[in-house]
Amino acid sequence: MEWVPFWPRNAATAATPVDTLFIAELAISAVIILMVFAMIVGFGVRYRAGSDASRSNLVRKSWRFEIAWTVATFLVFLGLFIYGANLYVWLYGTPPGDLEIYVVGKQWMWKMQHPGGQREIDTLHVPVGKTVRLVLASQDVIHSFFVPAFRVKRDVVPGTYETAWFTPTKIGEFRLECAEFCGTQHAHMLGSIVVMAPADYARWLADQGAEPSLAQQGEALFRSYGCSGCHGANSTVHAPPLDGLYGRIVHLQDGEAVTADEQYIRDCILQGAARIVPAGYPPIMPAFAGQIGEDDLMKLIAYIRSLGRERHAP
């Protein structure tokens, strides 16, 4: 579709199915609009006050027509709904990524952290053809991570993690925009996604200098915030072990069972035992709300995710 001068670029796997659905709905819309306009113009001309067209035999039993077009409209709408909902479940259910990027939005910039510890501002380098999973957090107001060429958008809501994904299909630079009004410089909360060939991407990563990985930075924080005092291997405190925690089902004191994803780990750290107590443990975890910034939180979570991964690796 890119030969159309007013069509956005198509640079990720989501773009083609979204465009196809959009074109289908445009076609149905065009049919409806043409039908209505044709009837208005046609009837308007044929039955203008001066014309001598016959007005006899008016339709009296209107309910037959009404039921017919109510049912027809409903079925068409239902079809569109199912088509759209089905695609949405695929678009919004986040698959495991080949690559995970932590993104923090703040007035008015995007901070990106690669798993290897590389950091970028307003630019994100990714390899083509790999599924990139984003974990999004906001430091202040609501932002929205929007890459038109990828047909991906996700609000970045403070106080919670949102996840989104895309799989770029083309090499190039693509516009990243903030789509949720976030204050004075909202229109300049822009960035670009640089999609590179895998070899170029590997070279780019290497050129960023040898920084410790995100998990390694998290491990240092794990000690400096005192987490290791209770959760460490040699601790005498009866705290839940974190090895292999990520992705497991955790049973809580109140009977609920939750999956230990980023959001769960985040809530545990920030809210502590006041809100979340795993079954069988004493409610002693302190709350860290207000003491750990979004960047550090993401590093800690990257570290906790890495725990047990090595052990389970084949």
Binding site: P17, F74, F81, V89, G183
Partner: protein
């Protein structure tokens, strides 16, 4: 005043002509005119902001206004147009004037509450003027938290107070209409003989009564959080920003129906009259109005598809959004088919009404596109959404409001206006509107987000087209000020029923006497007893017109 009414019969306008007799009136017709004055002023304030926005966006670098000023302009445009023009437009002017006349009553059930609602409305308006002149608000009309409660610099609390107070005038008006329509119908005016305008106002009033209190609570909580730092919506204080969005849209989506339902009522009256035919499927039209009012309460989540609500709830809200579109589609078909075998004249009100049907259809089908969850991910918060809701609210509601104003102008003032200029304004509205907003659909799909004061140069052509259209639209909206104003002084006498319409409001003199009817009308037939064979009609009280 005396010169304006010199050659007119004794009427509500001539009864007393002191300023106090206007400011303390309990006559629904005079209160309608008071409202008309207030909302016309706000329409031009909101329009002024729109003009600056469109001028600013001609240049991609956005240099006309400073960023903060631009943000304040679109916020003011939204707040003023939504709460101080669109929501009160048809109900409080045409509704106030016509509800008692169309059902054969002397006045509304609570004339003093009616007057009080106008004062409450203006008190709210004073707060708008206050925050406007003090420097404005830059949160957008949606007041999203925690931007509004913590980060915005403007006069958020004054704006919230303005909208909060404004809500009470909505509630008073809605209550008044519901009670009036239930209790004060003329003998013989049973429910299934009510003009569709009355049904539309009834459905609207129900929504006003049930939804507006939620808005009041939401804005009250925003004010509390902003001034007292109580954590409700701000996560830094332990609140939840999505809670705000749920509460806000629980009102603000039904508010869309507060704006469009009365327009549907107006258009039904106009199309039947100028096609000289009963409206097709009257009963179905009443069910559709009520269905929209009820289902409209269960679709608010479609404003939050990208905000992080669960996949399950997004899918349910999408389904409900498609369901609410069904009765709207039925109404569109019924209006169109009413033209079949009609005896159609294209007077200015009819041109506005047909323009409404066309623009509402475009707004409606693009509504299906944004109701499709998968597409909304791309379109949410872009110009596509901006174009879509302007097609409904401006193309729809404002066109119907102007159509209704022209249709009932002879009844309200007793004067005729220049038909030629009025038709010209109606056509100009349609053309200018499409040129303004159609390019915005394209900008939206290209990925231009809302509320951007600057944009990449390759999108300039669409913005220039849009701004060019806006200047045409501005002419189309200012023009009626002149010829309608002129008609007040020099317009021909209208006579009681210039359109040979069937409603009870046409069975009394123009302008109507202070107590509406010389004799209380007795209703003997359904509305819209037009005969397209010869263009004749039978009024609801049995008279041939």
């Amino acid at each position: 005043m005396t010169t304006l009414t010199a050659d007119l019969p004794a009427s509500y306008l001539t009864k007393e002509q002191t300023i106090a007799s206007w400011l303390l009136t309990t006559d629904h017709k005079r209160i309608a005119l008071l409202y008309f004055a207030s909302i016309t002023a706000f329409f031009f304030i909101g329009g002024f902001a729109a003009t600056l926005i469109r001028l600013h966006l001609v240049n991609p670098a956005g240099t006309l206004l400073q960023p903060d000023m631009y943000n304040r302009m679109f916020t003011m445009h939204g707040i003023v147009m939504v709460w101080f023009f669109l929501i009160p437009s048809i109900p409080n002017t045409l509704g106030n004037f016509l509800v008692p006349l169309m059902i054969g009553a002397k006045d509304l059930a609570f004339p003093r509450i009616n007057l009080a609602s106008w004062y409450v409305f203006n008190l709210a308006g004073l707060f708008v003027l206050y925050f406007l002149f003090m420097g404005g608000v830059d949160t957008g009309w949606t007041f999203y938290t925690p931007l509004s409660t913590h980060y915005a610099n403007g006069y958020v609390v004054a704006a919230a107070v303005a909208v909060f107070i404004n809500g009470f005038s909505s509630i008073m008006t809605g209550l008044n209409f519901v009670v009036t329509i239930h209790r004060m119908r003329a003998p013989g005016m049973v429910w299934m003989r009510l003009p569709l305008f009355i049904w539309a106002i009834y459905a609207t009033s129900a929504v006003m009564l049930l939804a507006t209190p939620v808005l009041a609570m939401t804005l009250f909580l925003v004010g509390v959080e902003r001034t007292a730092g109580v954590g409700i919506f701000d996560p830094a204080l332990g609140g939840d920003p999505l809670l705000f969005q749920h509460m806000f849209w629980f009102y603000s989506h039904p508010a869309v129906y507060i704006m469009i339902l009365p327009a549907m009522g107006v258009v039904s009256e106009l199309i039947a009259c100028f096609a000289r035919k009963p409206i097709f499927g009257y009963a179905g039209m009443t069910y559709a109005l009520m269905a929209i009012a009820v289902i409209g309460f269960f679709v608010w989540g479609h404003h939050m598809f990208t905000a992080g609500i669960s996949i399950y709830s997004a899918v349910v809200f999408s389904l409900m959004s498609f369901v609410v579109a069904v009765p709207s589609a039925i109404k569109t078909f019924n209006w169109t088919v009413t033209l079949h075998k009609g005896r159609i004249t294209f007077d200015a009100p009819m041109l506005y009404a047909l323009g409404f049907v066309g623009l509402f259809t475009i707004g409606g089908v693009t509504g299906l596109i944004v109701a499709t969850v998968a597409l909304d991910i791309h379109l949410q918060d872009t110009y596509f959404v901006v174009a879509h809701f302007h097609y409904i609210m401006v193309g729809g509601t404002v066109s119907a409001y102007f159509g209704g104003l022209h249709y009932w102008w002879p009844k309200i003032t007793g004067r005729l206006y220049s038909e030629m200029l009025a038709r010209f304004a109606a056509l100009l509205t349609f053309l200018g509107f499409n040129l303004t907003f159609f390019p915005q659909f394209i900008l939206g799909y290209l990925g231009m987000p809302r509320r951007y004061y600057a944009y990449p140069p390759e999108w300039q052509v669409w913005h220039v087209l849009s701004s060019a259209g806006a200047s045409i639209l501005a002419v189309a909206y200012v023009l009626p000020l002149f010829y309608l104003g002129w008609s007040l002084f020099r317009g021909e006498r209208a006579g009681a029923n210039p359109w040979r319409a069937t409603g009870l409001e046409w069975r009394t003199s123009s302008p109507p006497p202070a107590h509406n009817f010389a004799r209380a009308p007795l209703v003997t037939s359904a509305p819209y007893a037009y005969n397209p064979e010869d263009g004749s009609a039978i009024a609801q009280d049995g008279a041939h017109v």
